[in-house]
Symmetry: C2
Amino acid sequence: MSTLPGALDTASVRDYLLGLQARIVAALEQAGGDALRADDWQRPEGGGGMSRLIEGGRLFERGAVLFSHVSGTRLPPSASAHRPELAGRSWQAMGVSMVLHPRNPYVPTTHMNVRLFHALARPGHDESDAFWFGGGLDLTPCYAFEEDARHFHGVCRDALAPFGADYYPRYKRWCDEYFFLKHRNEARGIGGVFYDDLCEPGFDTSFALTRAVGDCLLGAYLPIVERRSNTPYGERERAFQAYRRGRYVEFNLVYDRGTLFGLQSGGRTESILLSMPPTANWRYDYQPGPDTPEGRLQSFLAPRDWV
Amino acid sequence: MSTLPGALDTASVRDYLLGLQARIVAALEQAGGDALRADDWQRPEGGGGMSRLIEGGRLFERGAVLFSHVSGTRLPPSASAHRPELAGRSWQAMGVSMVLHPRNPYVPTTHMNVRLFHALARPGHDESDAFWFGGGLDLTPCYAFEEDARHFHGVCRDALAPFGADYYPRYKRWCDEYFFLKHRNEARGIGGVFYDDLCEPGFDTSFALTRAVGDCLLGAYLPIVERRSNTPYGERERAFQAYRRGRYVEFNLVYDRGTLFGLQSGGRTESILLSMPPTANWRYDYQPGPDTPEGRLQSFLAPRDWV
């Protein structure tokens, strides 16, 4: 365990994140029956990560649960465009990030991320540590099951309820706005919750809320996996899944700020692109009939109140 | 044929582009034995396009030869960031854009584009029409054949030679710099030529150079198609092709200015994304042995002088 200087108890966040990764990995290995592969790495400029990933599994065709903790001695101006007063400070960033692409097209893809950014006060300056938490989880189905969407959002709502009734609706809307493909006029999935820049309630409450988000992933997702993973499927469903995965690729490479910032700032490409599906297809002007299961996805993805 | 006001003979450019599209389509249909599908469209704000495309063909698994000619009455400031004096003028843009993804992994993917942008002088203002041509062609192989790279670059060099000996080396370097995946430290393919903002030699010479670029595509590409399209391949080569197509997706969605500007400015998504391959795969930390045909691609892609 590395303890870094600063007034905030970021070592506890690191401990929490490592525990969260371990719990999720254990649960996924039990659910899928395949071990996740470990790949740890160091960042020359400071810090590193522990990647846990699977490819070609029975349940998960591709997926990863990544822990990273990176740090630097001088925050580049590009990383603090909205807070120019932080440029030049020592900083650290830590988080767990997860994407799962199941093999069965009836089991939705899911994504979860929790993270802390921390810029340290400089000794001798009249300033304090700056920090913010961010995170969220969301669900991307190929086939429309209202019951799954209601369950997923219900768990998200319950997780945030202890912090105030307005968090879930705000973070749900933020998620709908963030995971949106403008060029398709289409949501990436049925959403969930998303937040960033959380510091206003203070470090302890922001951390507690972030724990609630991380901790709710397994309860939000695994019951859906259990419910759908034995549904028979054939070539038709696999073809539609590959087509929908193209949308996932489009979102992540065109819009996702974390992906783009990572790729452009010299992040670890193979880790960042573990969010990519194992395969993706493109097909010109594909319009499934409105009364087919594939055609019903379109209206299902339109943001709405699920709980 | 639409003739727009202005001192420049842009109607001739339109005629050339329509003829170029027709010639390329006819040659591809003859080479592949499959007809291209026609899909014409109108743009509500002005102009439209004629798409010619193929999916699931014997020779081309996915490909398109697109003509578009769009116009507007007020150039948005975002479109003229480098030439703010053009904001608010009437404008038109026309071009032919082509991407071909062959089925056989030994036949390289190719891309060609020629285009004209034209901002009209406003009546009663002391100003003249502004225009610039752009374009290029490049080759993206999965397997390394020096003979193919030398042929392709030789045709490009010969096409530009009548305009001066420095055009080919400059545009070759520009191509190497443009089609580069920074996050992979890797070129998209073996290059070709690329240029933009061409106006300095005057309208007639810039147009003539652009014709030379468009006209050379078939001679640069079809001999390679003929040489490679009967090479037997199996699952190994198809898997590597799908993996390499992932790089094509990464380049086009993360870096390609035309793609990103089109998607972000409300362009016609289905046309823009005809550059996507039919399928693409991602695989964690894939490192083919250096002595395999797949491993040899890496060093083959490092920019070098081919002619």
